[in-house]
Homo-oligomer: 396 residues x 2
């Protein structure tokens, strides 16, 4: 039992002397929860923004997009308390404080905070995050990642409809196409869609499938894997429940298509441990899920040391800056796109035209990396404020 | 990207037909957050109770004690929605629904719900949970697990004070003693306390230490490990940051004392994976942290299949019923005890004298397993209601 945790029934608070004295200390963190009703939906969706402010009025901001849902907010607030009074340049020390403080938890709540610290760091020296990290590339080869369809209705209601949309995406510049099938992940549906998409794009673009861990048995996963090989898929992703190494070694032995798991695996050492165990060909990391830009870059470096590729999960400015600074990576996940609605789940929070839909893809099949300071995006504060439903301010 | 999750920005809702038709369906889940100021503290502590009620007025209850802190409440509420309208006997199916719904998260929120389902199951047939699981034992050999001391003050302010308390615990029946040192986990303090305790108890009782992942370097962990060997410790627990397999294999190769990790590792397959990788000698599971009694028993069975022992983490009625039904286990963690305050962090929620302090230890050095139906404890509803600060009701 972690006695320190038990003692407080709160995340462990660890204090340490900052390596350097400075007048630049974090004064407050504001977490703004906001809601809006996405196009095509009748239900409001809730996301949140974080703003970190120093005593000398530097600011770093981030709006969590995909992977840090409302479940994470209590963790964000808890981890934000660790930041107050700290030097915002101490990103490594603060990352380690948060990792220990939330050690028993998934630690998702620290992702948005680390990203905002990187935004602050970039803005404070008028440089983009990719420049602080060190640039490898500024064009990101993009694949379209679909929403889940609805069997029998709508624009992704059948295998043929998935194939039609795949063709449309490739015609509009996408270099590859990954689908999420109908909720429930029936293996027959998975196979039918994969065959239809694979045949439609054969020789034109890469194809990937992502059952999102929907298959309950290894046998069903192997059935799907056979079809991945048949259509020469670029990767197959999270076919099977859980992340057990023995099962995924069997999949890798029996299926030729490269396997991608670890989107559902949180701490760094377990993601890397699965690669050590021969349980995956490619690794995942996500700045919102995996403790920020710092967490993604650590995963990328560990993957590089293993000689394997790290695929950054999901779309967003933090993902773009990460991928810009990683050599051993292949594709930017432009998602989740809907044939009729574009990117309906992306909150309309950008004041500068930053987009995560097909319009972002250039003639080279790539999306750009924002060139401005920090994350390089301008948030629409009026929109966020007018949709705010709860605000939490953590301050000294 | 898990398309289903992204689509809803909520845990995936999965529906499936219940295997049998029944009139016994879950009607509501109530989550009651309560606060009280523990003895010796000036700050209120918040815990929560869950109550699951069926249409025919069966009820299952659990008060989360240690490991499901307020950070878990949004997960509890989210997972509770999965239970409404379901047959409460479908524990395996519901466990799998929750595991998928919270797949990217630590899943801690489902622990209290699974425990309450077991309580309901036992009460519905007037049998204790251990009888439903199948009993292995009804006396649980106990070790005292201390709170963290405060260096230089209080009853655990020095190495000698830890040794004095160790001797007192053994004189009062404890078979073993595990300490949590001062917050901050300075390796010199860890070593001084371990030497003092080890010398005091040599030949009389087992000694364990738990730095709670406080040491930042493998080198410091090895220094502590040498002293574990010197005092012939029964196990050493979570000495080092993170749960990386290579580092823990080094510790196991260089230190003779059995190593216990995985308290900080959440999904089942990663706990077992660390044993597969030779990274630990003993495994941990906790009904609040690891998806309930169901999660602990699965871990115990997987450990049994590996031929190793599963030590149930923390004190409480759910832990007692689990340990009662497991062969491959050694000690009950009676904690977190304070020489002056008893068990100050345990909420005083029992109406029947159920205790988690030295008074629970019998002449055989063991604590009992509650014999009554379900978890076998009676909650003090008046106390809980009078300390309630928030109530969430999830119903159809």
């Amino acid at each position: 039992m972690g006695g320190h945790r038990g003692r407080l029934d709160q995340p462990t608070m660890i204090t340490a002397v900052s390596p350097t004295r400075t007048a630049t200390m974090i004064r407050s963190v504001t977490v703004t929860e906001f809601e809006w009703v996405p196009d095509g939906s009748r239900h409001p969706l809730r996301k949140f923004a974080v703003d970190i402010t120093t005593h000398d009025h530097q600011q770093g901001s981030y709006v969590a997009l995909w992977s840090a849902p409302p479940l994470a907010v209590p963790q964000v607030i808890s981890a934000a308390r660790l930041l107050i009074g700290q030097d915002p340049r101490d990103r490594e020390r603060l990352w380690n404080l948060a990792a220990r403080s939330l050690a028993k938890h998934d630690r998702i709540g620290y992702g948005a905070l680390d990203i905002a610290l990187w935004d602050l760091a970039g803005r404070s020296v008028d440089q983009p995050v990719w420049a602080l990290l060190g640039r490898q590339r500024d064009r990101l080869p993009a694949y379209v990642s679909t929403v889940s369809g609805r069997k029998g209705s709508g624009a992704l209601g059948s295998a043929a409809a998935y194939a039609d949309y795949a063709e449309d995406c490739v015609n509009r510049g996408a270099l590859a196409y990954k689908f999420h099938s109908f909720p429930g992940s029936d293996v027959a549906d998975e196979i039918a869609i994969l065959r239809a998409v694979g045949e439609r794009l054969r020789g034109r673009a890469d194809v990937m499938t992502d059952p999102g861990k929907g298959l309950d048995t290894l046998a069903d996963a192997l059935r799907l894997g056979r079809v991945c090989d048949e259509v020469d898929a670029f990767w197959w992703e999270d076919p099977l429940r859980g992340d057990a190494a023995p099962a995924h070694r069997i999949l890798r032995e029996r299926v030729r298509t490269p396997l991608l798991i670890t989107e559902f695996v949180r701490p760094l050492e377990h993601r890397i441990g699965l690669a050590h165990q021969g349980a995956t060909d490619l690794l995942r990391a996500d700045p919102e899920l995996d403790m920020g830009i710092t967490g993604v870059i650590k995963t990328a470096h560990a993957a590089e040391a293993l000689g394997i590729d790290l695929e950054v999960h999901a779309a967003g400015p933090a993902q773009r800056h990460c991928m810009a600074a990683i050599r051993n990576t292949n594709y930017y996940e432009l998602g989740l796109l809907d044939p009729e609605l574009g990117n309906p789940l992306m909150p309309p929070v950008y004041a500068d035209g930053y987009a995560e839909d097909l319009s972002a893809i250039g003639a080279d099949g790539c999306v750009p990396v924002p060139p401005g300071p920090g994350l390089g995006v301008a948030y629409d504060r009026d929109w966020i404020d007018s949709h705010a439903v709860a605000t939490h301010t953590i301050a000294d």
